[in-house]
Chain length 251, copies 2
DNA sequence: ATATGTACGTTTATACGATACACAGTTTTA
DNA sequence: TAAAACTGTGTATCGTATAAACGTACATAT
């Protein structure tokens, strides 16, 4: 059942990502490296968007045929996952001093900004169960931020995961807002009162009337989104603070 | 600038969703209704998954040709969005008494379970800015749950949105876990210690060693996921509680 | 030195997807 | 009754992922 290297029970994509399986030594030398392929994919996605990212487009970028890529990668899915991890990169150095809250805040903010760097990073369905090297380092950094607390490991993992899920969905949402806001006919304050039955949607209409959906004078769209992101983040951190306080009380 | 019906500045998909634009009276009678088309799409997605949802598959389901669907819908994207809103349906009746917390909890839990009903609901990228009738009723219900608080409307909207984003990503994540867990070679406790460099991933390895990733004896997978969902939800609600307390203090 | 086997990149072919467009038939309206 | 609007269909285009067969290059075993 087991073969030479004990790593080969692992799926090929995992081995590839962690550099555990080099190509054989026989045969013609390779014209490319996996990283070159991934970089080409990243370049295409960065500049032309996720929907433009196709095997043929990447191959063209490299001056190779479409099918040649399959010598480096088993499927398009695999390529995208590996490219994603390479694109997001490792987390930045976090201040090793400071409260868990400051560190977790910095960590979440860095992830948010990373995902805001290029839209396609949020368009690809992110398997948040981290299996790839960089993704794993983000997880490690998040857990590290909580290392000084008295929480059990299970709770730490839950917290890091919860925040990460929130960050990802906020980043995606802000990107989507950005593209749909282009259509000015769709702004809430104008449309909703015309469409909604006050009997069925009283609270929405109340919020609209109170101006909750007015996006007045926005000069810096990115900063505006980040503020919304921060709102939820602070609620989460407040809630985690409550939990930590409780765990310290019963210490 | 304005034409007969004042609604026609709105994009066609919005008009369709709210039933504001019927077909003209001239020409042959239609063989289908929009709702029939949507129901067929929902049936396909429910039973065969999101990736099986194609124009030709839906048409086949109805006994019509692929192109006939374009008489009811402008594009596949539009069909999916309308079908999504129809599939999720309106929110359930929430207890009109009870604290904001109980009501918001019930609301979030209902959304979570709705999204857990069929996987494809989380596979489709959800524009959480609610433009569709049912989606809008969910928003309304969420705002209603907060109506008795002293928060300003802006904060209410932020809160409802934040929770909704969290719910959606949790539902999606749990679905993804479910399909990737099938591959037992990939479970963390086995793989991680073999792969990770302890220098680079100390905290992850510590968590693994403490058993934070052991998914021992799970009889009811859905209940297990829902518990994880609840963890984050309670952190959020705790954080919102802090905010509400603050707003009442400065009342 | 030579034979062998393996890995390389290419070519060709398949199957499926969304949707633009032209068409012929049907029903209402002027 | 003629025109206009709308129906569903059939055909065609273009793009996608990827399976399979092929000839070539080259490290290793003999």
């Amino acid at each position: 059942m087991s073969s030479p290297g004990s790593e080969d029970e692992l799926p090929r994509n995992v081995r590839l990502a962690w550099g555990l399986s080099g190509p054989g030594t026989r045969g013609p030398r390779r014209g490319l490296t996996l990283d070159q392929v991934l970089d080409a994919a990243i370049a295409v996605a960065n500049t032309e968007g996720f929907e433009a990212l196709s095997m043929s487009r990447v191959a063209k970028e490299l001056g190779f045929t479409t099918m040649s890529l399959y010598r480096y990668v088993d499927s398009k899915d695999q390529l995208v996952e590996l490219a994603w991890d390479r694109a997001i990169g490792p987390p930045p150095e976090l201040p090793s001093e400071g409260s868990w809250r400051e560190r977790l805040d910095a960590w979440a903010t860095a992830e948010y900004r990373g995902l805001r760097a290029y839209r396609w990073l949020t368009e690809h369905p992110i398997r948040t169960a981290p299996y790839w090297p960089n993704n794993m380092r983000w997880l490690d950094a998040g857990l590290g931020a909580l290392s000084a607390t008295l929480l059990d490991e299970d709770a730490k993992v839950q917290i890091v995961l919860t925040i990460s899920l929130y960050v990802i969905s906020r980043a995606r949402f802000s990107w989507e807002l950005e593209s749909s806001l282009v259509d000015h006919r769709l702004d809430y304050p104008t449309v909703m009162p015309r469409i909604l039955d006050p009997e069925k949607y009283p609270w929405v209409l109340a919020a609209v009337a109170a101006g909750a959906f007015d996006d007045d004078e926005v000069d810096d769209l990115a900063a505006w989104h980040e503020q919304d992101f921060r709102f939820g983040l602070e609620r989460l951190l407040d809630g985690i603070d409550v939990l930590i306080g409780r765990s310290e009380a019963t210490r």
